[in-house]
Subunit: 331 residues, 2 copies
Amino acid sequence: MKLSSQNLDARLDTLYDAIVVGGGMGGLSAAIYLARYGLKCLVVEKGKGRSLWMQDLRNYVGLDPDTPGRDILNHGAKQAIAWGADYLRGFVEDVTDEGDSFSVKVKVGKNNSIYPVFRGKYLIAASGVIDVLPELENMQNVYDYAGYTLHVCMICDGFDMWDQKAVLIVKTESQINAAFVLNWFTPYISVLTHGACEVGAETREKLAAHGYPLYEQKIRRFLGENHQLQGVELEDGAVVEATTGLINMGSIYHNQYLKHIPDLDWDGENLIANSMCQTSHPRIFALGDLKQGLNQVSVAVADGTLAATQIWRNIRRAGAPRKWEENLSQH
Amino acid sequence: MKLSSQNLDARLDTLYDAIVVGGGMGGLSAAIYLARYGLKCLVVEKGKGRSLWMQDLRNYVGLDPDTPGRDILNHGAKQAIAWGADYLRGFVEDVTDEGDSFSVKVKVGKNNSIYPVFRGKYLIAASGVIDVLPELENMQNVYDYAGYTLHVCMICDGFDMWDQKAVLIVKTESQINAAFVLNWFTPYISVLTHGACEVGAETREKLAAHGYPLYEQKIRRFLGENHQLQGVELEDGAVVEATTGLINMGSIYHNQYLKHIPDLDWDGENLIANSMCQTSHPRIFALGDLKQGLNQVSVAVADGTLAATQIWRNIRRAGAPRKWEENLSQH
């Protein structure tokens, strides 16, 4: 059922089998599986996740390469609800481990917000990341290109940058190292720091040795039309010619609600999980970009499958088997 | 490019970056990723794999739940070819490890077969399984129900069996244990051995204690219409009432071509692989149903992503970085 501030009261007494934080590709996969295992689950989706920004999904078996992320998210949410999952737009503010269950506090509504608390036996952390984008005065100018010809994932879109002039936009010196992977796809790389970091001598020398120019000024605006990048104008008016680019400025993680839970093993901002996506806390599972490993839609979708299946196994094994009572009474 | 006996000669001198044995969900995912990494790959698809038999795919994010397996396979093959992969209908008969590469002998054509040998640096074993079906005189009668209301995967289709009268068809005594998982979805289970195995006292007692009747006669035919099962007629004319069922008779693996390769770790018929799907042989990767783990489409698709990515990393790291020569000459 689709929940909202109007009808969510009906679920405040529900003990969900699992609460899924995040309705991206991984969370929706988990919800579809959980629902089809006959388990009660709630997906809490804050919106504006990474996959919503994807203008096309090039490499997912079964879908046309020009399928936008938002279409898949809508489709998956409808599918999960149709199988019996609950789905709520809201932001998970806090999770408390109560021993046998979690209580999950959700902020619902941007204005006049309410803060319902839901309860679940298991928690699936599928709240992923958002890519950091360069901050310009006119953010619409960034959105006009980001996800189109200005990419955020080299694995997804490197192919579409093949042998083109490309800008690599970074925020820290270490992020410049992406140039030495991106050069698999194109060697025509200009590195832009947008004035955000100092660059040491060693990195400068390495860039020079590869012929990749470094621009340390702030970006004024992206040039082009119809989402097709043509160049980047810097603060002094100089233009760096480029028809494509990679933004490699790191990610913002939505994982604050887990930070005070003991027994969770982290690798930086990523949760460490086993082959079934179970974290070091036996009732918390982690999927997709929030988990260690490759940030790819297909991986997140499989993670949802695995986490839901392990939760089903745990719940099934903890319960009594169902007997065919009619046949038993004949004995 | 789509290869056939007519044009494959053009590829006999090619050293592929990877040869993918199997064009199911995992193999196609690997091929799409490999092609988009700019790597040369060949998919060899024998046909008639497990996913071809799926009449619908209930639990894969992004696709309608009534999407048949054959549609996804066709779609994925076209996508892989469009990105640059080669694709050949054929049966991999033998693989020889030549140290830096493999030679892969393929049988092409059912009649007047030819046996071309292709070469690849890496091998992706994605040749999966086929489910064993009960052998009846009239196999069309089996195909009329298998994949429709007579399922082969409990995780995929247990939900669609909810509280229905179900037959569980097995070939060995240990396969009967599936009854004690299937009872999560329905307790109205009749177990049919199709005369294929002896059943010991302990199993009989356990079935009786759950109220699940055991039928040890051969199956004569499945009853119903329009793919909707209504019952199973046994050899003596008795009819077991059922509107659904699970065939749990094991799988036929297509992995013979790997059996003489040393250094491969097996778990029964499944290959053991690491988190990137790399087997104990560093140039052989294993995906999906051929690999240890859950046999699910989403898992196979992610496996293809992971294997292709690791192969790309290995090949990329082994090569020289591409420089922007024009800028270097300016120095």
